[in-house]
Point group: C2
Chain length 336, copies 2
């Protein structure tokens, strides 16, 4: 009987590439994988670029306490989604991903094939068909590390920066708040994954396969947003970054936050958690945080979440909730 | 007494960034680090892009048997050099790097500062002052992983592909052959690093801080090179890739190879190694392999190393040395 290789250690680099490349589709690059570099059209004369990494046991567990196994598809999807979100946050449209995979020898080939499928599926499902996986790199390592760099096209628009918020602006968000954190709590809780409700599984999916609102970034830029960023490390922490860049402070509206928290109250009750902590501090939702001129009609999908105020100087809180201290801070990759 | 943090685990992400960013210089990006993505000028209307990763214990050891400790400076330099080399191989000029660092908690802050210095120093020393470190990503992991994506500008030229070599072309190389492999052998040998000669240390440096000939790629493109690639996995293996892409075979000239091997003969003798194996099979030199029309004067820095011949069909050797089988194959990231 023929031997069917199961692990990446049984394949050469060329053989593994031959498994991956057909799953990535033809793409729209002027020159795709196979040369020392890929080539893209940049008709705008400017290119936006970002890079983001997923590390096993830091950004995902291969096996969660409740029994859920993270698939290659999940990791490919999340890698694409979090990179695309950075381009979205500039008001740009993603044009290419280049992806570097560091794989332990015992990684299953089907897991890597799933990762390629997840990258492709996220591009289609999130509405980024114009984005192509243009190239990549394969190597060995002790743990799984997936890094992608993403390029984007501003289509003639000005980029929307973090630094443009002005006192009096309406602060708005697009996308969910705290769902990925609720999903993380469910996956970490040890609750049997197979017994989770459909709603709870959708929260787990918000953690494993986030869905950034990709049409909303260019739309907000087109509508004249003063400032914008994606919410990757939590509403309070990322709001603080917007404040620091713009030289302003922000007061979040407790009434609006309560609406988001109410959605998660049942799940939080089951886990003995506070849903407002997820809404204020939860990362990885990859929604958009943007400042618009006061009184402006918000673009479709955005909802008011607070107000931009004048900076009160050192010592004053940068981000408040109804004038008071927030109940949760958010995620720092290095703290503690 | 004030506490002076030593390890990255003692800093927040923002504090570590504040140590890194000043070392990267002002840069020439239209928009540098600090937003969700950076922005570059792409006046050519096309962008070339590539990605490459260095993994601890795979691509470098922190501590070598003979006592040499790989510095952050070395890793930053090598990361820049190998990425810049991919852009060089297309005949383009690098415009930006985005860099993702995965750092164990016990990584020394000074090591990371050294890495930033090494990135900057390589850009200057290798003649890539027009290239800027435009952005990055920081995260935790069990081992050090450094990934960079690099963009480049073709300055109006056509990219030089692997697929353009034609029977009768002169095969030429620019840069050293086998020096990085000799350096690796020295570092792995257990010979006391402190007792190595100046020449031997320069070979070790070719491994730790390679110097791709960055002016030569655009010059070869301007001179009408038919095909080009960088030699990252060894002359024979990379020549085989050029053959496969171009549908040709290659015969390397043993007389020319002997000149390269002679340079390394003393070191090889000390280690009981065959210098020709390093020349034929050694990776990481990041020189250029290019095919030029027969009889054409080679651009400065290139030397003839063989001849492009017609493909003889399946079963025939793709790459030969004086018509015979090569003595060494080269590096595969997944084989064995």
């Amino acid at each position: 009987m023929a031997h069917h290789p199961q692990l990446v250690s049984e394949l050469s680099e060329g053989e593994l590439l031959a498994r991956i490349l057909p799953r990535l589709g033809a793409g729209r690059a002027l020159l795709g994988p196979g040369d020392d570099a890929a080539m893209l059209a940049s008709p705008d004369g400017r290119t936006v670029i970002s890079i983001d990494t997923l590390v096993q046991d830091q950004d995902f567990r291969l096996q969660w306490p409740g029994g859920y196994s993270t698939t290659g598809f999940d990791v490919g999807w999340k890698c694409a989604a979090q990179n695309l979100s950075d381009i979205n946050a500039m008001g740009a449209v993603a044009t290419s991903l280049v992806v570097s995979l560091t794989l332990p020898a015992n990684t299953r080939i089907t897991w890597v094939e799933g990762l390629a499928d997840g990258l492709s599926a996220a591009l289609r499902a999130l509405g980024a068909e114009q984005c192509t996986v243009a190239g990549g790199d394969l190597g060995r390592g002790d743990s799984l590390v997936v890094t992608a760099a993403v390029t984007g096209d501003l289509q003639g628009r000005a980029p929307v920066l973090r630094s443009g918020a002005r006192p009096g602006d309406t602060l708005a968000v697009c996308g969910v708040l705290g769902h990925a954190a609720a999903g993380l709590a469910l996956l970490e809780s040890g609750m049997d994954y197979a017994a989770l409700s459909g709603w709870e599984r959708s929260l787990a999916a918000a953690q494993s396969r986030p869905c950034p609102p990709l049409a909303a970034g260019p739309a907000a830029a087109g509508a004249g947003a003063h400032a914008m960023m994606d919410i990757s490390d939590g509403l309070v922490r990322d709001s603080g970054r917007l404040c620091a860049a713009s030289g302003v402070r922000i007061d979040l509206d407790p009434e609006m936050l309560r609406k988001d928290a109410t959605l998660l109250a049942g799940t939080a009750g089951n886990l003995g958690a506070d849903p407002l902590h997820w809404v204020l501090g939860g990362g990885e939702d990859h929604g958009l945080l943007a400042a618009f001129a006061a009184g402006q009609e918000l673009p479709r999908g955005f909802r008011r979440i607070g107000t931009v105020l004048e900076d009160m100087g050192p010592g004053a809180g940068r981000v408040t909730v109804g004038g008071g201290k927030p109940a949760a801070a958010g995620w720092d990759h290095f703290a503690g």
